[in-house]
């Protein structure tokens, strides 16, 4: 009896705690949406209002009309999809090379790669831009995609997962005359699909939100991406917060959908690190 009550209290407390956590996490999103429906005066009003006194759905139309968001959306989608596929492909191959294959200087090369993680990305922008412009890639989609498809952090992450696969599995496959290529795609990849999905979604979010690099390498509207459109609402003399929030809401919706679709994969990718197979 006493045990039952205690269990119930625990359950209730757990749920209250989780609900509080969920609310804290959700609040910025809700606030963004509510702000996007207020007028400019109400946003800076003191004390602030939670719900808009007048619901301004027209903010979305105004925000949409401020920049060619349709074109930006297509570009962002293209860059994100192609960029993520290439990144995942290269990450898988490289991680396999550094975890399973043995070749002279492997660990030294890997250490050098790891060392590059110490250099902040901002420092590379100008040198990368010089390289890209020498390749004649300024204002092309290539410039948006190729400089970022080799990501040392993802390679490191996936290598750790690959290294946990038992050697015996590899040698057994070898005995059965299975090539490295086949072993990688038939055994390694399916067994680490959670880790790979995590990498894919991290990379997709990164591509989707990238701002400074796309701004620097593109000039024409036909090559630009969504994040650049957000700057339209900020000027030296003020910011149209209601339009900025409306455009931001449009910007994050696809990422939320992607997250909901891959939810299970991500959670097990993050939590599970044991061996399988």
């Amino acid at each position: 009896m006493g045990d039952g009550i205690r269990r119930k209290i625990t359950v209730v407390l757990t749920h209250v705690f989780l609900m509080a956590g969920a609310m804290i996490t959700l609040l910025p999103f809700v606030w963004m949406i509510l702000t996007s429906l207020k007028d400019a005066g109400e946003i800076v009003q003191m004390p602030p209002t939670f719900f808009p006194s007048v619901w301004h759905f027209d903010n979305y139309l105004k925000a949409f009309a401020a920049a060619p968001f349709g074109q930006y959306f297509i570009n962002t989608l293209f860059v994100t999809i192609v960029g993520t596929i290439l990144t995942v492909f290269i990450t898988i191959l490289t991680a396999f090379g550094f975890s399973r294959l043995r070749f002279p200087g492997r660990d030294v090369i890997f250490s050098i790669l790891l060392a590059t993680l110490m250099i902040p990305g901002e420092m590379l922008i100008i040198t990368n831009f010089v390289t890209v412009s020498k390749l004649g890639w300024v204002d092309t989609r290539e410039a948006l995609i190729f400089p970022w498809i080799a990501n040392v952090f993802y390679i490191y992450l996936l290598r750790q997962f690959f290294m946990q696969m038992p050697d015996a599995l590899y040698y057994a496959a070898k005995v059965d005359a299975c090539s490295d290529w086949r072993y990688l795609w038939k055994i390694m990849v399916p067994n680490n699909r959670h880790a790979i999905s995590t990498i894919a979604i991290l990379n997709a979010i990164g591509c989707w939100n990238a701002f400074l690099w796309p701004l620097i390498v593109t000039n024409s509207e036909s090559k630009r991406v969504l994040s650049i459109g957000l700057v339209r609402f900020q000027t030296e003399a003020g910011t149209h917060f209601e339009l900025l929030m409306a455009a931001s809401a449009i910007l994050v919706v696809p990422m939320i959908i992607l997250y909901l679709l891959l939810r299970n994969q991500i959670i097990s990718g993050v939590t599970r690190s044991g061996i399988k197979g």
Binding site: A40, M46, L215, I216, V231, R232, Q234, T235, A237, H240
Partner: protein, 408 residues
């Protein structure tokens, strides 16, 4: 391979003949790339002017506008382009952006001397800014000035006049605070506030890389500023960043901000007015802001074409059209005096307030680390206000930190 090159030369010759037949007199078409940071309504106005130029220049010049985000983004992008040798033909710039790459900016003295309509007609403080580094490197374009925006309705209720001096500002602040419990004024730009008050009190600010604001007049100015806040006559922008928001909601009775910010004021149940800034004991001194046009094109044809466009943008007609559409100021005296702008001014208090004080405006000179010093002084003044430091303490800290940056 061979066949291909023969084909190419035949095609080329054919194309050349065709062009020669179709357009025997007109010059080669030239495209000018112009990087700017104008968004929203400002961008619409720039596009309209540029379309007008493209349609009417009669020399087959096409200007391509490229929006590069905000000023910070544009500045970064220009810097990267200098390194990669991919600068556009022209861009909007602030003087402190181009110090690192003056070699890449075309000096305009010859063009101004031989092919420009009455350069002396451009406002003097803009000419001074353009020639800050010796040669003329830039021409003023989207220029704004600080304005005293006030709540006309509430000023009338309280029987307040617009303050024209420091003493009047302080006296009005007292009346307003006692009657409403609200501060009378706020400043968007604390660095500009400090610099203008120091100068209004007759002291230099930073001259030839040397601190001059630590004079008795400078300290007096700082004391006045800190007292405004301490007594509750002034408030900080704080989380709101710009005071146009709190002002529109009636939380502050007036604020000093850029003339370009007028579009962001949404007065709630009151009418707002615009006036010149209060003047100091010695003189008026009002910060100007806004970017200038710089020419980067090295190719002669592009240079000429871009110059035609710059001449167009700064012509009396275009500068007036631009000013009316955006709230920036005409860059020419003749623009201010034109019938169109005078008619506009009659209806527009912001323009009147701007015109009344253009003679007092100054540009912020660039010195070693001036960008960092700007944000440092803003932060230090905010800290002094929040921590209620004595003016002497605040001054000592500012001098020490600014000196370190100047020597750096």
């Amino acid at each position: 391979m061979k066949l291909k090159s023969i084909l190419v030369s035949i095609l080329g010759a054919g194309l050349f003949l065709a062009l020669a037949v179709v357009a025997p007199v007109s010059a080669e078409p030239v495209t000018v790339e112009f990087w700017h940071a104008m968004s929203g309504g400002l961008q619409d106005a720039l596009v309209a002017l540029t379309d007008e130029f493209n349609a009417t220049n009669g020399q087959d010049i096409t200007v391509e506008l490229v929006n590069q985000g905000g000023y910070g983004d544009l500045s970064k992008k220009l810097m990267a382009s200098v390194a990669a040798d991919t600068l556009p033909d022209m861009a909007q710039v602030y003087n402190n952006w181009i110090t690192g790459y003056l070699d890449s900016v075309v000096a305009l003295d010859d063009l101004v001397a031989t092919n420009f309509d009455n350069y002396d007609d451009i406002l003097e403080s803009y000419r001074n800014e353009g020639a800050e580094y010796g040669p003329i490197y830039t021409i003023g374009f989207n220029k704004s000035i600080q304005i005293f925006f006030y709540n006309k309705t509430q000023f009338a209720e309280l029987g307040l006049e617009v303050p024209t001096t420091w003493e009047e500002l302080e006296a009005a602040g007292k009346v307003a605070l006692e009657a409403t419990g609200k501060p009378i004024v706020g400043y968007d730009d604390l660095f500009g506030l400090f610099q203008q008050y120091v100068q209004q009190n007759g002291s230099g600010f930073v001259v030839d890389g040397k601190i001059e604001f630590n004079s008795p007049e400078g300290l007096e100015a700082l004391t006045f500023i800190l007292n405004l806040y301490k007594n509750g006559y002034a408030r900080l922008a704080g989380e709101d960043v710009y005071l146009s928001g709190p002002f529109g909601n009636g939380d502050v009775l007036a604020y000093v901000g850029s003339s370009a910010g007028a579009a962001y004021i949404q007065p709630k149940d009151f009418e707002y007015g615009a006036a010149p800034l209060p003047k100091g004991p010695v003189k008026g001194s009002v910060p100007q802001a806004g970017t200038n046009l710089a020419l980067f094109a090295q190719d002669a044809a592009k240079q000429t074409a871009a110059w035609e466009y710059i001449k167009f943008l700064t012509s009396a007609d275009a500068t007036v059209e631009w000013a009316i559409a955006t709230g920036y100021l005409p860059v020419r005296t003749s623009g201010f005096e034109s019938a169109t702008y005078q008619a506009f001014m009659e209806e527009n208090e912001v323009a009147q307030a701007a015109y009344a004080q253009v003679g007092d405006q100054y540009f912020e000179p660039v010195f070693n680390n001036s960008y960092d010093i700007r944000s440092l002084i803003s932060t230090e003044i905010e800290t002094a206000i929040l921590e209620e430091k004595t003016p002497e303490d605040a001054m000592n800290t500012i001098v020490e930190k600014v000196q370190a940056l100047l020597d750096n």
